[in-house]
């Protein structure tokens, strides 16, 4: 009924749950890979503990006839891999959730008769093939079968996925997948589910990057050729991507001794003509605050990819949150401008990161790409990023002998030279300085230099990205959100089905778009959805648009919002 309809509309949600190191990632990787290749729309997101082995982690995979890109609570099929998995997900399991797995592994957790449990002998089949490690591929086969894939497609994919392994490994894995595939019919009958999701012609040409991939590729497209960083979850995946693909593309990727070094290296690199980025998370960024101020004073470009996670301090290292807006906004002693992007989709992550490099170079200021664990770790199929749409805009000038780095100009932007390019000398100074970059104690000049630096913000305002309005520009209720929550809130609004309700999503949060007050005051009711406890973006809007948002939906448990909970919360407010 309703549920069937919803599955039809929004596809099916599969959740894998087990300990770290148990192979969830294998199942997830193969399953999403073959589905995508076969032309299904796929979305995957994970939640995991800060440990290398053990604990309880889970991955949600949505498969759908139409594009999906948001986390939902609903679990249609659950594959628990160990004891503890079912209690871990208790709140999300409904009477309709089909649980497939092995009672022996799961213990008394599956004995409750409210659960729709179907025994699937993954391990036995694997052992029959000679090794229990095949059990993950057996499970993958079962899921593929349930989803209506073709057996030969499955086998073909498995062959390719294990192509670097020994011949018997390949054939055993194929056999495992086949055996699993054959279990599907039985599960279907026993659990009384029929899934009919059709491939989507467009998907094959699409790509399926994670948020981290999108940011990293965006950086490369933006001409990034220097990355200095210190590992920190959830930013490490961007760093690793750059490291893996950097060398061959002429990119220097260096793991610094600490975050202070990382940002000071990045600023030094820009000074010498590189296009540099740091990747970090809240705690690491906290150590870069003095460096941000240095960029402000030197008028150095710098791109800061900041992946948020719950804080204060170490907080919840592998979880998600949106609580570092204010830190990014006010980081650094003294007053100087900056730009903050907060992509909500993979496409935005790609284009905005690329844009960050151009704007940093143009306005000579720090530009942030504010992501979070949820965005960084999630992936789904999306149109291939169009590199030809991104132009690497370089604003470096060849210097003449009388070059002055800090020439005072009407828009505050001084032509930026670099050492070794032209006849001039390039002198930059963290003290207050004169046009030549030399220390000054001329207090009138000081005032003019502050004004000059702040004027650049006005220039940056002219290029602010418009917030995205969805679906209608006529609305009674307006739901505001920013960053990674975009797809979730969008789907929640679709689920809600109120034609008088629109969504306004900000992918650039600072400078704030000048029409913000217009958008907001047109609505009768405005609601903000934020992944933090103090409604930081609402405060920014109050400050810069003078609009006080009354209704707030806030979450700070460490988990991303689900479509359902946003819908429920909205329903309550908009009733």
């Amino acid at each position: 009924m309703v549920r069937e309809k919803h599955i039809k509309a929004q596809g099916i949600s599969i959740v894998l749950c087990g300990q770290a190191g148990m192979g969830i990632q294998t199942v997830e990787g193969i399953l999403t890979g073959m589905l995508k290749l076969a032309g299904y729309n796929v979305f995957a997101t994970k939640e995991y503990m800060s440990r290398v082995r053990g604990g309880n982690n889970s991955t949600e995979i949505r498969v759908s006839s139409k594009p999906v890109s948001a986390y939902i609570d609903r679990i249609d099929i659950l594959v628990p891999l160990n004891k503890g998995a079912i209690s871990h997900l208790r709140d999300r399991i409904s009477a309709d959730t089909v649980i497939i797995g092995e009672a022996e592994l799961l213990g008394d957790e599956v004995s409750g008769d409210k659960l729709k449990f179907v025994e699937t002998p993954f391990t036995k089949i694997a052992n029959d093939l000679g090794n229990k490690i095949y059990s993950n591929v057996v499970a993958t086969g079962t899921l593929a079968g349930l989803l209506g894939m073709k057996l030969d497609e499955v086998c073909e994919y498995i062959k390719r996925a294990f192509s670097t392994k020994a011949a018997d490994m390949i054939s055993n894995n194929v056999k495992a997948a086949e055996a699993g595939f054959r279990l599907a019919a039985d599960v279907s009958t026993k659990a009384d589910i029929k899934i009919s999701i059709s491939p989507d012609a467009g998907v094959k040409d699409q790509i399926i990057p994670s948020g981290a991939d999108a940011i990293a590729i965006g950086a490369m497209a933006g001409g990034c050729n220097f990355v200095s960083a210190y590992p920190m979850t959830p930013s490490t995946s961007v760093l690793s991507f750059m490291a893996k693909h950097g060398r061959d593309s002429g990119i220097i990727v260096e793991q610094a001794e600490d975050e202070i070094s990382a940002i000071n290296m990045a600023i030094g690199a820009w000074y010498c003509g590189a296009r540099a980025m740091v990747t970090t998370s809240g705690g690491g960024f906290a150590l870069m605050v003095e460096g941000v101020s240095l960029a402000g004073m030197l008028e150095s470009p710098v791109v800061i990819s900041l992946g948020q996670r719950p804080a204060p301090a170490t907080g919840l290292p592998t979880r998600t949150e949106q609580a570092d807006i204010e830190l990014a906004l006010y980081a650094g002693h003294g007053e100087f401008p900056r730009i903050i992007f907060a992509p909500g989709t993979l496409e935005q992550a790609f284009y905005l990161t690329a844009r960050a490099f151009n704007l940093a170079d143009k306005f000579q200021m720090p530009v942030f790409v504010l992501s979070d664990q949820y965005l960084v770790d999630s992936y789904y199929n999306t149109a291939a990023f169009d590199v030809s749409k991104v132009k690497v805009e370089k604003y470096v000038v060849k210097t003449a002998t009388d070059y002055k780095r800090y020439e005072i100009t009407p828009d505050g932007i001084s032509p930026r030279g670099i050492p070794g390019f032209g006849k001039g000398l390039v002198c930059v100074d963290s003290d207050e300085h004169d046009a030549e970059g030399h220390i000054t104690e001329d207090l009138g000049l000081r005032t003019r230099m502050v004004d000059k630096r702040l004027r650049k913000l006005e220039s940056a305002k002219a290029e602010v990205i418009e917030p995205q309005l969805y679906p209608n520009c006529k609305y009674k209720n307006l739901v505001v959100c920013w960053g990674s929550t975009y797809p979730v809130v969008k789907e929640a609004i679709e689920l809600l089905g109120k034609s008088d309700t629109s969504l306004l999503h900000y992918s650039q949060i600072y400078p704030l778009h000048p029409q913000t007050a217009d958008y907001l005051s047109k609505a009768k009711r405005v609601v903000i959805v934020e992944g933090n406890a103090t409604a930081q973006f609402a405060k920014l809007i109050k400050l810069h648009a003078g609009f006080d948002i009354e209704h707030k939906i806030l979450k700070y448990s460490g988990l991303q919002f689900s479509v359902e909970e946003v819908a429920v919360a909205l329903k309550k407010i908009l009733k």
Binding site: S249, G250, S261, G273, A276, V387, G420, C427, I439
Partner: protein, 289 residues
């Protein structure tokens, strides 16, 4: 090259009359001129402090960054354009105190930069607190009962980290200091030159006279290639040896290790992303199958 290419003309120098910093400035200019390093091909990187003002007093490119943070930008500058000569120069507090972590790890990283440290055993700019190299018992407005922390021995630490070039000089001897500097600047990879520099205002213990009396040069026969021997000499305290303590010629420089200059020696600023490669990369993501 004539030393005066580095001259700034009539400028106001913020150092105290009689300070050892003047000598270092002169010697540095001479060394650069003798090595024929043009001002446009040089970048001076410094932190904050009296010593760290030095880039303002010679005509060249400079990056006068944050207190303690000269080495990371210097490393990046060299890596972004290996054809530049890069000198990172600051005081003892800047390099060994606030900047201590960069000091250690820059040595490990081994970029082709020269690290000159004005060692006056005191914080000059902030008016006389102890620096990491201040001697035991040295009294200051903060160390009121005298320093109790073991003085930092930059040479011993650099040798422990297997720095490629480790030297100490005393600016009281301009000529020898110049020769050491020239060798340091031409050394491939990271080179440390710790220079004793009397602070006539805030260090009334380690004066010109004191340094003269408490230093001597390593013998001509001294071989700087033995790490343990170098360490032993670096520990001497009764009289402090001067000269080149240690050279390890077998290290490859950071800018060579980053792996992007082997095929293509253009500096980063001349490069554009390879759009075709990027297109392929985009296609390949998660396309394991």
């Amino acid at each position: 090259m004539d030393t005066n290419v580095f001259d700034m003309g009539e400028i106001d120098i913020a150092w105290c009359p009689g300070c050892g910093d003047y000598g270092i400035l002169n010697v540095l200019k001479k060394a650069l001129a003798e090595l024929d390093i043009a001002p446009e091909k040089l970048v001076m990187v410094s932190g904050i402090g009296q010593a760290a003002k030095i880039p303002h007093y010679l005509k060249t490119n400079f990056f006068n960054g944050l207190h303690g943070r000269a080495l990371p930008p210097a490393t990046a500058i060299k890596a972004a354009n290996p054809s530049m000569t890069v000198i990172a120069e600051s005081g003892d507090g800047d390099m060994y105190g606030e900047g201590g972590n960069h000091f250690i790890h820059t040595i490990r990283r081994n970029p082709g930069i020269t690290n000159i440290v004005h060692n006056n055993m005191v914080y000059g700019l902030t008016k006389g607190q102890a620096s990491p190299t201040s001697q035991l018992g040295f009294k200051t407005p903060v160390q009121v009962a005298g320093v109790t922390l073991e003085p930092f021995n930059p040479l011993a630490v650099a040798i422990a980290l297997d720095a490629g070039f480790v030297a100490r000089a005393f600016i009281g001897d301009a000529d020898k200091t110049k020769e050491i500097l020239k060798k340091a600047i031409t050394h491939k990879g990271y080179a440390l030159v710790d220079i004793f520099q009397p602070c006539v205002t805030f260090n009334k213990v380690n004066t010109w006279q004191w340094f003269k009396e408490h230093t001597y040069y390593l013998e001509d026969s001294y071989d700087p290639h033995d790490r343990s021997a170098a360490f032993k000499r670096a520990l001497e305290t009764e009289k402090l040896p001067l000269g080149i303590f240690y050279i390890n010629p077998n290290k490859s420089a950071f800018e060579d290790n980053v792996g992007i200059y082997q095929q293509d020696n253009r500096p980063l600023f001349e490069r554009e992303p390879d759009v075709n490669r990027l297109r392929m990369l985009i296609r390949k993501i998660r396309a394991a199958g």
